[in-house]
């Protein structure tokens, strides 16, 4: 895998266009998708040993999206890298396809479905354990949400993964500091997160999740030590790249008008700021 920052930047802009395009006609979790877009683009272009033609290769690396609601970022990345046809994204929320608000294994590249939070760290542990027994070099990368860390099953899994010395397991926390309509620290404070992970016995790193060079430096330095799993806290920004919805508690799940999507796409490219009129979904 060759790292090329320019390529990452180009692809990440197109992935964000896809996310915005899926944020209408039923909508999607736009903000959370934008926060992990750069992460997924970096991982699939520059880190993971998996290509559209190696999806059945037992030696491929595995990525699991445990915070499944950011799947537009995953499918956008898959479309740009040839895992799926770009046109297929237009099937978003069409029952005749499998492209909806959470990942489905029927879409090439999806290794395991998700939706309910707090599941895929333990599923990833099973895969990592099997891979170790198979004596393969594959790595298992699990993307967790920061809000997802509220779930007890995550901390159960953190303890067991440490006990099993799963050093081929990497958890990456998309630390966008929001969960649904509130800031994480105002609801269930998570910090100091790195200290918590260290106390659980994991190798711990922290990185700017939107800085490709920093991501590359961080991921290239892994594993940080043998015999322990690794967690990377990627500090990100919800809604990153689209200032009108960036870090706004009320822009969590977004179902924009077509006109708003056009304006936001302009905004993504550095043009005029959008005027948003569509209602927001507030759950809290």
């Amino acid at each position: 895998m060759t790292y090329d920052r320019g390529r990452c930047e180009e692809i990440s802009i197109r992935v964000r266009e896809h996310i915005l395009a899926m944020s209408t006609d039923g909508g999607c979790f736009t903000g959370a998708s934008l926060s992990c877009a750069d992460l997924l683009v970096y991982l699939y272009t520059s880190y993971l040993n998996v290509q559209p033609d190696t999806l059945k290769d037992p030696n491929r690396d595995i990525l699991l999206l445990s915070k499944g609601h950011d799947v537009p970022a995953l499918y956008g990345t898959f479309a740009e890298l040839g895992f799926i046809e770009r046109e297929r994204l237009a099937n978003h929320l069409d029952c005749n396809d499998h492209i909806y608000w959470h990942p489905n294994r029927a879409v090439p590249g999806v290794e395991f479905h998700s939706g309910s939070l707090g599941h895929l760290l333990s599923v990833g542990m099973g895969m990592a354990l099997s891979i170790r027994m198979e004596q393969r070099a594959s790595r298992v990368v699990v993307i967790l949400g920061d809000g997802e860390l509220n779930e007890g099953s995550i901390w159960e899994a953190f303890q067991v993964a440490h006990a099993l010395h799963l050093d081929n397991l990497i958890a990456i926390v998309d630390r966008n500091w929001f969960q649904a309509n509130v800031r994480t620290e105002e609801l269930i404070p998570l910090e100091p997160l790195d200290e918590k992970f260290r106390a659980f016995g994991w190798n711990t790193a922290r990185v700017d999740g939107h800085d490709f060079d920093a991501l590359h430096a961080c991921m290239s330095s892994l594993p940080l030590g043998t015999g322990r799993p690794t967690v990377v806290i990627a500090d990100t920004m919800r809604g990153k790249g689209v200032p009108s919805i960036q870090e706004r508690p009320d822009r969590w799940f977004c179902n924009f008008t077509h006109d708003e999507v056009a304006q936001l796409t302009d905004e993504l490219h550095g043009n005029a700021v959008a005027t948003l009129v569509s209602p927001t979904l507030i759950v809290r």
Binding site: R105, L121, M125, G126, M127, S153, A157
Partner: protein, 318 residues
């Protein structure tokens, strides 16, 4: 080594796919870790993580047997079973320890008396309720031959309660049927209740009541044919189960009767709510699940078809 330990040891030796996981529950297989090496994993008191891991292992082509107390397996980890095993239909065999009445002294938190209902409600998941160790071990061998998601109510009683040739896991078994046609009572049961139902059937026969006793080791998928035949043949069908009567075998039999438009007298002898904790023989008596109570209840039902049913609300005190 007990028969189950021998099965695990031998299967792991010949089938590299098999993995054995437990959530700190290894009383019935204490001797296997030394033979299984890294194929045996004790995750500690972490049922959810165990089920997620089992799914991850199964997704790599492994066949995984997990063990935990039945109540914690089916309740604490329920969503992990549903999402990570049932939805992708992965070959994870889930063995629940001390199910139903066997929980005796633990109290209501540990009583898996809704487990059959929960598990049979899940698409893709089988439910196996053996009556004794022999049936358990043979059923596990069959599940390992054809791996699929299945919940197993563990019963390790060394006595074998019936001698007929053990058939496939999908079939119900007629354990005794003196008249062979049109008995007064068709008695359906499963798991740890079989010996008590068998004793009750013998008492009834001695008193001149003809009984066809049917053991249903597989509660999902169910052997519908044997149930339909019993409903049609018998004057009365009675279901004995150490499970809540709603959602267990009684419910399943009623569903079948309705679907086949059979107007039959169907009576439950089961649990209405959590049972008082105590030693097993007393628990059986106070819940009406010992042989004497079962036989007596059936005689009452036969003598007076219009006798008021036992209350079926949730209001019965434990």
């Amino acid at each position: 080594m007990n028969r189950y330990e021998l099965l695990l040891r031998d299967r792991c030796a010949i089938d590299p796919r098999v993995m054995v996981l437990t959530a700190e529950n290894r009383g019935h297989m204490r001797n296997v870790p030394q033979y299984l090496g890294d194929r045996f994993v004790d995750v500690g008191i972490a049922e959810q993580t165990m089920l997620g891991m089992a799914a991850g292992l199964a997704s790599r082509g492994r066949v995984v047997i997990v063990h935990a107390l039945a109540a914690f397996l089916t309740l604490r980890a329920f969503e992990f079973i549903r999402d990570d095993v049932a939805i992708p239909n992965l070959p994870v065999i889930m063995v629940g320890m001390v199910p139903g009445i066997l929980s005796d002294g633990n109290g209501p938190t540990h009583q898996a008396i809704d487990d059959v209902g929960l598990m049979r409600g899940l698409p893709n998941v089988g439910v196996f309720a053996p009556a004794d160790e022999e049936e358990f071990v043979e059923g596990m061998a069959e599940l390992l031959d054809n791996p699929r998601p299945c919940y197993v109510r563990y019963v390790g009683t060394p006595t074998s309660y019936y001698r007929e040739e053990r058939t496939t896991l999908h079939r119900g078994v007629v354990v005794c049927d003196e008249r062979e046609c049109c008995p007064e009572v068709a008695l359906l049961t499963y798991g740890a209740m079989l010996p008590h139902a068998l004793l009750a059937a013998q008492k009834l026969e001695q008193q001149g009541v003809s009984v066809r006793l049917i053991h249903m080791p597989m509660l999902a998928p169910l052997d519908e044919a044997i149930i339909v035949e019993a409903l049609n043949d018998a004057t009365m069908t009675v279901i004995v189960e150490d499970h809540l009567i709603r959602s267990g075998l009684y419910s399943a039999v009623c569903e079948i009767a309705v679907r086949h438009r059979i107007a039959a007298a169907i009576h439950p002898i089961g649990l209405m709510t959590w049972f008082p904790a105590g030693r097993l023989p007393q628990v059986l008596r106070v819940t009406g699940l010992d042989a004497d109570s079962i036989a007596s209840r059936i005689r009452t039902l036969l003598n007076n078809e219009s006798a008021p049913e036992r209350p079926t609300s949730d209001e019965i005190p434990a």
